[in-house]
C-alpha cells in the first residue's frame, strides 16, 4: 500500500498518544503521466468506484481519474445519502440489489468507515391504488432476492408516532418497508474509494478538466486537459450532470437533459427520525444524519439548468410536504439548501455502455438516484471497461434501448425527463 497504512481503532489510539504524527496523506497528488491504459473522466463517486474496482477486482493497472475540481465534488458530495434497492422493473432491481450487497461490505473492503447504516426505509402509502402498486413492487423486490415488507397503519404508527395520524389530508394507510435500506455518509464514500484506489496505484488527478477527447480512425487515443494531453487506451466517462457537455467533445447527443435537484438540511437536533421515509402524497423524503441534521429533499425544479442552484417554488413545496407529514417540524429550522445537476434520462434509468467510438465508454443518466448505485455502478463500469462485456446485472443499461423500445421506465412517464 502507498501512503496511509490501514485504519483501525488501535491506530487511532496509538496516534492520539503520539501526537497524530503518523497519519499520511489519504491520497497522493500525482502529476499526470504521458499515457495510461485507462482514464476515467470524473472524480465523483462513480468514477472513483470504477477506478477502485478496476484496480482491485479486475487487476488492471495504469489507471488515472481526471477531476476538474476536487475529488467527490459532484453529486456524491451533495445528495440525501439514501441507499435502497426498492425498484420494480427487471432491468433495474437486480442491479440495485447488487449495489446494496456491495454497500453491506464496503467499509471493511475499502478500510474506511463510511457509516453505512441500514436503518430501514419506508415508502408511505396513502391510497388503495398506492398499496396495490407497492405490493407489486415489494413482490418484485423479493423475487429478485431483496427484502420487502408491507406495513399497516398501526405498524407505521408504532415506528413513528409523531407522523400526522390525526388531521392528515392524505391519511397514512401503511408503508412498503425495506429494512436493509438506509443511509451512508456521502463524502466518506468518495474518500474511501479515493484512498483505496490511490493505495492500489491509481493516479487521482484533481484540478484537471478534460477539454477534448481525441480519436483516430474511430478509436480513442487520449484526452486533452487543462494540464495537457494525456494518452489512453480506454476512456470511461462518469460525469453525471455534465454528461452531455463531455460527450459533445465527440459529437454525441445523449438521451438526457440536465436538471437541478435541491436538497436540504436542518440544524442539528437530538434524535427524532431513526430511518428513512418517503411521503406518498407529496414530494418529501427525510432521514436524520448521525450529526443530528434532518436531511430532506423533494422533486427537481423541472427546467434544464447547469447552475447548481434552484428557486423557491420547490423549497416551499418540500417544506409543505414535510409539515403535512410531520407537523412537529414547524419549529425546526432549515439550515442550508443546495443543488446538484442531474442527468435526467428519457426513461428515468441510467446508461452503462460502450459508444460507437472504440475505447470510449459511457456511464451516466442516473437521474436523482445515482448515490445508492455508486458501488454497483463502479463495479459494472469497471467490468465493461476491463472485459468489454456488460456485467450481468447491467445488461439493460444500453444506449440502443430507446431505438428498440426496451425502455426501463419505472414511472411510466415516457420521454419527458423532467417528469421522471
Amino acid at each position: 500500500m502507498f501512503g496511509t497504512g490501514r485504519y483501525s481503532g488501535w491506530r487511532v489510539v496509538k496516534e492520539a498518544l503520539t501526537g497524530h504524527k503518523g497519519w499520511g496523506p489519504a491520497w497522493r497528488d500525482p502529476e499526470p503521466q504521458a499515457a495510461y491504459d485507462y482514464i476515467i473522466i470524473g472524480g465523483g463517486g462513480h468514477g472513483l468506484a470504477t477506478a477502485y474496482y478496476l484496480a482491485k477486482e479486475f487487476r488492471q493497472a495504469r489507471i488515472a481519474v481526471l477531476e476538474k475540481g476536487y475529488l467527490g465534488g459532484g453529486n456524491v458530495g451533495r445528495n440525501t445519502t439514501i441507499i435502497r434497492s426498492n425498484y420494480l422493473l427487471d432491468g433495474n432491481e437486480p442491479f440495485y440489489e447488487f449495489s446494496l450487497k456491495l454497500w453491506e461490505g464496503l467499509e471493511q473492503d475499502f478500510n474506511f468507515n463510511a457509516m453505512v447504516s441500514q436503518r430501514g426505509i419506508i415508502n408511505l402509502i396513502h391510497t388503495d391504488a398506492q398499496r396495490d402498486a407497492f405490493t407489486r413492487r415489494g413482490n418484485a423486490m423479493i423475487l429478485n432476492g431483496a427484502d420487502a415488507e408491507l406495513l399497516d397503519r398501526e405498524q407505521v404508527r408504532a415506528m413513528y408516532p409523531f407522523l400526522n395520524f390525526n388531521n392528515a389530508r392524505f391519511p397514512i394507510k401503511g408503508a412498503l418497508m425495506q429494512r436493509r435500506g438506509g443511509t451512508v455518509r456521502h463524502d466518506a464514500v468518495a474518500w474511501g474509494y479515493a484512498r483505496g484506489a490511490d493505495s492500489r496505484g491509481v493516479d487521482l488527478i484533481q484540478n484537471c478538466e478534460v477539454t477534448g477527447i481525441r480519436t483516430e480512425h474511430g478509436r480513442v487515443t487520449g484526452v486533452d486537459t487543462t494540464r495537457g494531453f494525456i494518452g489512453a487506451k480506454k476512456v470511461g466517462v462518469a460525469v453525471a450532470g455534465n454528461s452531455s457537455r463531455v460527450m459533445a467533445h465527440v459529437g454525441m447527443r445523449l438521451p438526457m437533459e440536465s436538471h437541478v435537484l435541491q436538497a436540504f438540511v436542518s440544524e442539528g437536533l437530538k434524535p427524532l427520525i431513526d430511518g428513512v421515509m418517503t411521503y406518498g402524497a407529496g414530494h418529501f423524503y427525510v432521514s436524520q444524519s448521525d450529526k443530528g441534521g434532518l436531511v430532506f429533499g423533494g422533486d427537481i425544479d423541472g427546467y434544464n439548468t447547469y447552475a447548481q442552484r434552484g428557486n423557491m417554488p420547490v423549497v416551499e413545496d418540500v417544506a409543505e410536504g414535510g409539515m403535512s407529514l410531520i407537523p412537529m417540524i414547524g419549529r425546526a429550522r432549515l439550515l442550508r439548501t443546495w443543488g446538484g445537476i442531474m442527468d435526467m434520462s428519457m426513461d428515468g434509468s441510467p446508461i452503462i455502455d460502450k459508444t460507437d467510438i472504440e475505447g470510449l465508454y459511457f456511464n451516466g443518466g442516473w437521474c436523482y438516484g445515482g448515490f445508492k448505485a455508486t458501488p454497483a455502478s463502479g463495479w459494472c463500469f469497471a467490468h465493461l471497461l476491463a472485459t468489454d462485456r456488460p456485467h450481468e446485472t447491467a445488461t439493460a443499461y444500453r444506449f440502443d434501448r430507446f431505438r428498440k423500445g426496451l425502455m426501463i421506465d419505472e414511472k411510466g412517464q415516457g420521454a419527458q425527463p423532467n417528469l421522471h
Binding site: Y7, S117, R169, D187, W191, L269, G292, M312, G321, L334
Partner: protein
C-alpha cells in the same frame, strides 16, 4: 438577581423591567434587550455547551452570526431549539433552557469528551468503528447519535400559524445600517418604491452600537431620525425583523418577517412569521460585515467576545461583560472597543498584534478569569473577565454569492468582497462592499441608490450627506497564534481547532471543500459566519497558496436558518393540496358514497345500500342497473378537450388508433392514443 453588569447608557427602556427565566432562574431585563444582553447584564456569561467537546460557552457576538449561545426558547409545543440568544428580543415572561448538556449547564457529564479530545480529532470516526462489522449499527452509531444533535424538538404539532406573501418594489435595500438608510433616503426622496429590510428589531445597524456622531447627532439618533423620515414616506415600506434569506433568479428575493417572535404568543389571528417573495427591479446589499476571531489557545471561554460585539453590548445595551477587559486586535477598529470601554470607566489593556503582541492562553473554567500574553519575548498573565478579539471584519458577501459567484479578495482590508455583477441588479454598499468607515458607508449607500435610480429612469435628489467619521482601519492580517500545545478554536460550535486544520492538511484534505467536509468547519448552525475565512486562511498558510487561490466554499441560502413552518405557510393539515370536489359530491355524500382519492379529487366509488355487506354487492347492483336502464358517471375529475366541427370524427380517426368517425350521436367510446414513445 440584580443586573450587576448593567452600566449607564444604551438604547434600552430602563423605565420598564421585564422578567424572564433561564434554566429556571428568574432574571430582570429591559425592553430593547436581547436574551444575551440581559443575561450578560445579570453577570451570566455561560449560556451553552459546544457540540463535540461540551466546552462551556458564552456568546461571542451580538448578532445572527452567533455560534455559541444557543438555547431552547419557550416551552411546550412552542419550544424552539438552537435559538441564538443574541437575536432573541426580550419579552416579559420569556423562558429559555440551555441545551446539549446533562445534567446541568454548569456541570455537564459529556464534558468528559473534552478530556479525550486527543482521540476525537477531525475525521477520527472515518478510521475506526469498523470491527466487528455489526457493531456499527448496534453499538457505536446509537451512542454517537445520542451524543450528537443540539437542542430537541417538542414532538408536538406546531400550534402557530404561518403566512406567505408577495411584494413588488423598484428597489430592495438589504440592511438598515448607515449605507442602507442613506440608500433608502436617496431612493425614497426620489419617489421610487423602496423596501428596506433589516434582520434587527431596531434599524440603524452599527450606528446603534457606536459612539461617534453622524450629522452632529449620536449615530443612534441620526438613525432614528432617518427611520422616522422613511416611515413618513408612502413609497417606502420599512421591514424591521425581516431577514433576506436568499437571492433567487430575476430580482426575486426570499425574506422572512418575524411578526410575532418578540411576543409571548402571536396575537389572535396573526401569524408567527411570514415568508415573503420580493420582486425587485434593483437591489442594494447593505448587510454590513461580520467580525472574525483570531485563533489562540483556549480562545473559546465565556467572556471572550468579538471586539465589536463587546463594544455593542456596552454602547447599545448598557452592559459590561466584565470590568477588567483585554483587547486583542490586529486593526484600528479593535482599538475603538478599548477607547469606548475606557470612556465608560473600565480597566482596559490592549494587546496589539501589529506590534508583535499576542494572547497565548487564557484561564477560567466556566468563564474567563485571566489571559496570558506574549510581548517582546516575555509572557505575562493578568486577571480579567472579558477579552475582546478582533481579527478583522468580513463583508457579509453571502447574499451576493447566492448565484454561486465567488467573492473577490481585497488585500487592503484582508477580506473577501462581493464579486461585481454576480447577481444581476444587485449592488453592494457600505461594509458589505468592504467600505468600513461611516462616511464611506453613507457615500456608497447614496451612490448605489443613485445608480439604481438611473437604471430605473429616475433622477436622484441632490446628494445630502451628513458629516461622519472616516477613520482608518489599518489591518495587518493575523490569523492564529502559533507555537502552543493546546487547542485554538476556529469553528467554535463544531469544535474545529487549529490542530484539526493542520491534520486535514497533513492528510491531504487541502481543498477548501475537503477541509470543510472532513473537519466540519463551517457546517454548524452559523454556517461558518465567524470561522470560515479564518479556517481557509490557516489552510492557505499551510499549503503556501494565497487565500484567494484557496478560495471559499459555496455560500448557500438561507442567510440565517428558517423555520420549516414558515416555508410551508398555510399548506399543512387539511390545507395541504386542498380537496377538489365534483359537482355531484354533495349528492353522493348524502347517498353514503364511498370515495376514492384520485389526485386531489375525491371520486365516488360506489353507493352502498342497506343490507349490502361488501363492495362487490354494491358495484354489481350498480353495473346491472346501468345495463338495464341508465347510469350517471361524474367525470369532472378527468381532463377534457372540446373538439367541434363537421370533421371532428375524421380528425379523431387520426388521433386514435381505433375509429371514431362511425360513433353515433349520444354515444361514447374509449380510444387508444399514443405518444411518440408508445408502441401498440
Amino acid at each position: 438577581m440584580t443586573q450587576s453588569n448593567r452600566i449607564p447608557g444604551g438604547q434600552i427602556d430602563r423605565s420598564r423591567s421585564l422578567s424572564f427565566t433561564f434554566d429556571g432562574v428568574t432574571y430582570q431585563g429591559h425592553p430593547g434587550d436581547t436574551l444575551a444582553s440581559a443575561l450578560l447584564a445579570n453577570g451570566q456569561r455561560l449560556m451553552g455547551r459546544s457540540f463535540k467537546y461540551h466546552r462551556p460557552r458564552g456568546p461571542i457576538s451580538a448578532g445572527s452570526e452567533e455560534p455559541n449561545a444557543l438555547v431552547e426558547l419557550r416551552g411546550g409545543a412552542r419550544r424552539e431549539p438552537n435559538t441564538r440568544a443574541t437575536v432573541v428580543e426580550l419579552f416579559d415572561g420569556l423562558s429559555a433552557e440551555s441545551q446539549n448538556r446533562w445534567p446541568s449547564l454548569k456541570f455537564d457529564a459529556m464534558a468528559v469528551n473534552d478530556r479525550l479530545s486527543n482521540f476525537f480529532t477531525a475525521g477520527f470516526y472515518y478510521k475506526t468503528f469498523m470491527w466487528p462489522k455489526a457493531f456499527w449499527e448496534k453499538l457505536y452509531e446509537p451512542i454517537i447519535r445520542r451524543a450528537a444533535g443540539l437542542g430537541s424538538l417538542s414532538r408536538e404539532e406546531d400550534p402557530d400559524q404561518y403566512d406567505k406573501g408577495f411584494l413588488h418594489c423598484d428597489l430592495l435595500i438589504i440592511g438598515a445600517g448607515p449605507a442602507g438608510l442613506m440608500a433608502a433616503l436617496t431612493a425614497g426622496r426620489a419617489g421610487a418604491r423602496v423596501i428596506l429590510a433589516d434582520e434587527d428589531f431596531r434599524m440603524g445597524g452599527r450606528l446603534n452600537a457606536e459612539t461617534h456622531e453622524v450629522g452632529g447627532l449620536t449615530g443612534a439618533d441620526w438613525a432614528a431620525q432617518a427611520v422616522a423620515e422613511l416611515r413618513s414616506m408612502a413609497n417606502v415600506r420599512m421591514m424591521p425583523r425581516t431577514t433576506i434569506i436568499g437571492a433567487m433568479d430575476h430580482g426575486i428575493y426570499a425574506a422572512v418577517e418575524r411578526v410575532s417572535d418578540h411576543l409571548p404568543v402571536p396575537l389572535p389571528g396573526k401569524p408567527r412569521q411570514i415568508l415573503w417573495r420580493i420582486y425587485s427591479r434593483r437591489a442594494i446589499l447593505a448587510g454590513g460585515a461580520t467580525e472574525r476571531p483570531i485563533a489562540f489557545e483556549n480562545n473559546d471561554r465565556p467572556g471572550i467576545l468579538l471586539a465589536g460585539s463587546l463594544r455593542a453590548y456596552a454602547n447599545r445595551w448598557g452592559v459590561a461583560v466584565g470590568r477588567r477587559v483585554a483587547v486583542f486586535t490586529n486593526n484600528d477598529d479593535g482599538l475603538r472597543t478599548a477607547s469606548d470601554l475606557k470612556a465608560k470607566g473600565m480597566e482596559v489593556r490592549v494587546i496589539d498584534a501589529r506590534k508583535g503582541e499576542e494572547v497565548v492562553d487564557t484561564a477560567g473554567r466556566l468563564g474567563l478569569s485571566s489571559v496570558t500574553i506574549r510581548s517582546g519575548g516575555r509572557t505575562e498573565t493578568f486577571a480579567c473577565e472579558a477579552l475582546a478579539v478582533s481579527g478583522g471584519w468580513n463583508p457579509n458577501v453571502n447574499i451576493a454569492s447566492h448565484h454561486r459567484g465567488r467573492p473577490v479578495w481585497n488585500d487592503t482590508i484582508a477580506a473577501f468582497v462581493p464579486g461585481q455583477g454576480d447577481i444581476p441588479g444587485l449592488e453592494a454598499a457600505g461594509a458589505a462592499a468592504g467600505r468600513f468607515s461611516t462616511r464611506a458607508a453613507l457615500e456608497t449607500g447614496a451612490a448605489a441608490a443613485e445608480g439604481a435610480l438611473a437604471d430605473l429612469g429616475r433622477s436622484a435628489p441632490a446628494r445630502d450627506l451628513p458629516t461622519a467619521e472616516d477613520g482608518p482601519y489599518a489591518i495587518t492580517p493575523k490569523w492564529y497564534v502559533g507555537g502552543g500545545k493546546g487547542r485554538a478554536w476556529i469553528d467554535q460550535q463544531n469544535d474545529v481547532t487549529l490542530k484539526d486544520v493542520k491534520l486535514a492538511h497533513q492528510e491531504n484534505y487541502t481543498s477548501v471543500e475537503h477541509l470543510k467536509r472532513y473537519t466540519t468547519l463551517g457546517m454548524a448552525t452559523d454556517q461558518g459566519k465567524t470561522g470560515n475565512v479564518l479556517g481557509l486562511a490557516v489552510m492557505a498558510s499551510l499549503t503556501g497558496k494565497s487565500i484567494p487561490q484557496t478560495g471559499t466554499t459555496v455560500y448557500r441560502p438561507p442567510y440565517t436558518p428558517v423555520a420549516m413552518g414558515t416555508l410551508a405557510g398555510r399548506s399543512r393539515g387539511q390545507e395541504f393540496k386542498p380537496k377538489r370536489l365534483t359537482p355531484s359530491h354533495k349528492w353522493a355524500s348524502e347517498q353514503g358514497a364511498v370515495f376514492v382519492e384520485v389526485g386531489q379529487w375525491l371520486r365516488a366509488q360506489w353507493l352502498p345500500r342497506a343490507g349490502e355487506t361488501q363492495w362487490r354487492e354494491s358495484v354489481d347492483r350498480e353495473v346491472l342497473a346501468t345495463r338495464k336502464s341508465v347510469g350517471i358517471c361524474d367525470v369532472t375529475t378527468l381532463g377534457k378537450i372540446d373538439i367541434q366541427g363537421t370533421d371532428a370524427g375524421a380528425f379523431l380517426d387520426k388521433v386514435y388508433a381505433n375509429t371514431f368517425s362511425t360513433l353515433a350521436v349520444g354515444k361514447c367510446r374509449y380510444g387508444d392514443a399514443a405518444r411518440g414513445w408508445h408502441r401498440l
